[in-house]
């Protein structure tokens, strides 16, 4: 296959792109940065209508003027629904059995009452024992949250 020879110079050049990578410091810090990222994602607790709103507004950003009025109308309706339903999930999100992610930290115990969750301030604890910014890395899987390398046993 003569083509193979023809591409050899090109392939040498492409291999040089392996050098286009951050230094080792970036990768040394990446795991820690990932823990911070994941914790932030958990604690942000985006309500369902935020994602739905972003989906509806996508045509607008994409420059599709025909769909923009439709998206705007839906966004207005959605805003109304959010105002009504918003308080139900305000400030917290379920992480695991009986545990709730709250902007103030990871709740280790909570009491369910009706549709809302009552957070017991005295039971609020964080994996690091401090405020939310001091939380230790946290992972979440399909079953709920688990604290990583912490004294909390979920």
């Amino acid at each position: 296959m003569s083509e193979k020879q023809d591409f050899s110079e090109l392939q040498k050049l492409l291999r040089l792109k392996r050098l286009e990578t951050p230094g080792p410091e970036y990768f040394d810090r990446f795991v820690d940065a990932f823990h911070v990222y994941q914790r932030r994602e958990i604690l942000q607790d985006k309500p369902w209508y935020a994602n739905f709103g972003a989906f509806l507004l996508e045509p607008w950003f994409a420059g599709l003027p025909r769909l923009a009025p439709v998206a705007a109308s839906c966004a207005l309706v959605l805003a109304g629904v959010a105002v009504i339903l918003g308080p139900l999930s305000q400030g917290s999100g379920h992480l695991a059995d009986g545990k709730v992610a709250h902007p103030r930290g990871i709740v280790v115990a909570s009491v369910q009452s009706g549709q809302s969750t009552e957070i017991q301030p005295e039971l609020i604890d964080t994996a690091a024992g401090g405020d939310a910014s001091d939380l230790r890395p946290l992972y979440v899987n399909g079953h709920g949250a688990v604290a990583y390398d912490s004294r909390l046993a979920f």
Partner: protein, 204 residues
């Protein structure tokens, strides 16, 4: 046709990827850290060569590991972990590229992010270090990036996985969910396109 120097897919010592997955699912979360360390460099490379932007790559890499962690309970082990996570990375990158294309149109070279990172200096790699050659090589580097961005997502992915990452055709086929023949065909087409764009430089 195989890559001259394939990157190893498994570390020679220590637990296998699948063992680390099993440990993670059992609650040993340090095992997932180890998986991240094993794959962060390679996945960074895949995403970066698809997006050509380091900031976007960083964000996407976080998303990929997060998505993979959340989906780990559904990982059945029908494919290897590296195939599975590569797929996640590629799918996420494609979604991102589609959105970026819709919002901004084709990305211009001016948007390529080269700050704060070791710059690829082809001149240093050249045996003859004369100024004219240096200028030409930098121009070649820009032209190469520009030509890569002109390829379709699928063609750019194949070039990235084969020529830059050193994966074998069979591995690329598994990652991309297509046949080896398709991989070879895409690779041949992509090489032809790149050769066409860069031929004038490569002949010198």
């Amino acid at each position: 046709m195989s890559a001259e120097k394939a990157l190893p897919l498994d570390l020679e010592n220590g637990p296998t990827d699948e063992e680390l997955v099993a440990s993670t699912l059992k609650g040993d979360l340090g095992a997932y850290d180890e998986l991240i360390r094993r794959f962060q460099g390679r996945l960074y490379g895949v995403i970066y060569h698809l997006t050509s932007n380091h900031e976007d790559t960083n964000d996407l890499l976080m998303e990929v590991f997060d998505k993979a962690y959340r989906s780990l309970p559904t990982f059945r082990g029908q494919s290897s972990f590296y195939t599975w996570i590569y797929r996640i990375a590629i799918n996420r990158s494609f979604n991102f590229l589609d959105k970026r294309k819709r919002r901004q149109g084709a990305m211009s070279l001016n948007e390529l992010d080269e700050e704060g990172l070791p710059k690829l200096d082809l001149a240093d790699l050249s045996p003859q270090n004369n100024p004219n050659k240096s200028i030409m090589l930098n121009e070649l580097q820009n032209k190469l990036n520009e030509s890569m961005l002109k390829l379709s997502n699928e063609h750019r992915t194949v070039v990235t996985l084969f020529d830059i990452q050193g994966l074998a055709h069979s591995e690329i086929a598994k990652v991309m969910g297509c046949t080896e023949g398709t991989v070879r065909s895409r690779l041949h087409y992509a090489h032809k396109q790149l050769q066409k764009s860069l031929g004038i430089y490569l002949k010198r």
